[in-house]
């Protein structure tokens, strides 16, 4: 019973926070300076790690795929299939998981620490809404920067895949890219970007909410960080399924 109550509280809390943030965004209540800071902090600084992770994923995927396809005389489909799967699934999901671990944990610990050290009360005492100052710029930065992180990490996975295919079955770049036109459409790119934007917003909202509800000192903040990251990873897979079913 207690688990259900806590789950409902969390869902309710995140929903209310989302609506408040949406209302503030629609009213144009975003400070450009804060937004720029968060775009650098959440987005630009996440590009290297996301690119490294997706590059390894691209290399592994092609390692498994290229040998099997070459045996069946379909080596020219390696690049196209790789791009299709990565655009629809692996780029948004892997980028989402990397961001949930990196920026999600960082946001929750920062806001959680601010809460237990009365900094959130100090913001309110200074006539400043903590959601406006902390959540709105982070959510917008998450929405804007996750697709950009995806572009860089997508390139990483594409070229890492090519390097692996070239090394394993001697595929040239024109052969590697030859299947893209027949297998990949603009719809796949759209789906990738839609997923990235929704994952970006979700990761930040869940992370901020986890920080706002932190209590009980350093141990409490640590617990909130863990809860936030776990919830984010579960939500990424759940939303991935829903978006794929809707946009499929």
């Amino acid at each position: 019973m207690r688990v259900i109550t806590r789950a409902l509280e969390t869902v309710g809390g995140i929903t209310i926070l989302s609506l408040r943030v949406l209302r503030m965004m629609l009213r144009g209540g975003v400070n450009p300076r804060l937004l720029l800071e968060q775009m650098v902090s959440l987005g630009v600084n996440s590009i290297p790690i996301a690119t490294i992770v997706l590059s390894f994923a691209g290399a592994v995927f092609t390692f498994v795929l290229s040998d099997q396809l070459a045996k069946r005389g379909a080596a020219s489909l390696v690049g196209g299939l790789q791009l299709l799967v990565f655009l629809q699934e692996l780029i948004p999901v892997f980028a989402g998981i990397v961001l949930a671990g990196k920026i999600g944990a960082s946001i929750t610990s920062e806001i959680g620490t601010m809460k237990i050290s009365e900094q959130l009360d100090a913001l309110r005492a200074l006539s400043t809404d903590p959601d406006w100052y902390l959540t709105v710029p982070r959510v917008l930065a998450g929405i804007l920067m996750t697709p950009i992180v995806a572009v860089f990490s997508g390139y990483g996975s594409w070229y890492a895949g090519y390097a692996m295919a070239h090394n394993q079955i001697g595929l040239r770049y024109t052969q590697y890219a030859s299947g893209v036109e027949s297998l990949v459409s603009m719809h796949d790119f759209r789906m990738c970007f839609v997923k990235c934007m929704i994952f970006g917003a979700t990761i930040v909202l869940v992370a901020c909410h986890s920080g706002f509800v932190a209590k009980g000192g350093a141990a409490g903040v640590g617990k909130s960080v863990t809860n936030g990251v776990v919830l984010n990873i579960v939500l990424i897979f759940l939303l991935d399924l829903l978006i794929t079913m809707v946009m499929g």
Binding site: S117, D121, T128, D129
Partner: protein, 261 residues
Amino acid sequence: MINFENINLSFDGVQVLRNVSFNVPPQQMTAVLGPSGSGKSTILRLIMGLIKPDSGRVIVDGEDVTQMSERRLQRARRKMGMVFQHNALFDGLSVAENVGFYPTYVEKKPWKQVLAEVMELLADLGLADSADKLPSELSGGMRRRVALARSLIYHPTILLYDEPTTGLDPYMTEVVVELIAEMNEKYSVTGIMVSHDLPTVYDIADHVVLIADGSATVVGHPSELLRSQSSEVIGFASSWRRHIIEYSAEIERKDEGPEAR
């Protein structure tokens, strides 16, 4: 200017404040005394609207802050400043950015203008060389002064101090007390100070409100702590008797002038 009317407040089923009523006179310093955990800091949070009571009203400048929406509270808080017990400085921002927070984000002034105001105030408080430092690089006394500067920069008419001298050494306590007295006089603010520190209360308070067992008793001037007939005051004063006698005598000597010594 600030009136507490029959405030009742409980946390997790424990009643912290019981029918608390008192008035805070304008442009004077009121000290809220009481044992640890008696709900002294809660009084400040109620004035700021950071928490809401179970029942009763807190009237600030004719408006009941307990009934205000967060949006209206944001406007009401523009005339109030608060120095938190542990300063609550934004640890990711420099001293100048902390002090300039309100003019930058609430008044939306250009940073160049904000910085000029910040530097003038920091110079007044002896912190001009620390403008670019982070709060973690400062001593306890310096952090307290930064917290004070952050509240003073927008010239509030009401200033709330939560244990302003806690954790400071005797020298720094004296510096901060003098600073508070000076700033209160300079800006003619209504001050409310929560404190355990009797010397501080004697130095800068004009009135004392004692919170004990969830109830408030208005004492008047600190020197009247020993003369009060209230059982709560007698109970509190007995544990502080030696200090109160010492400071009452000191105050009397000061009042009588140099020839009395």
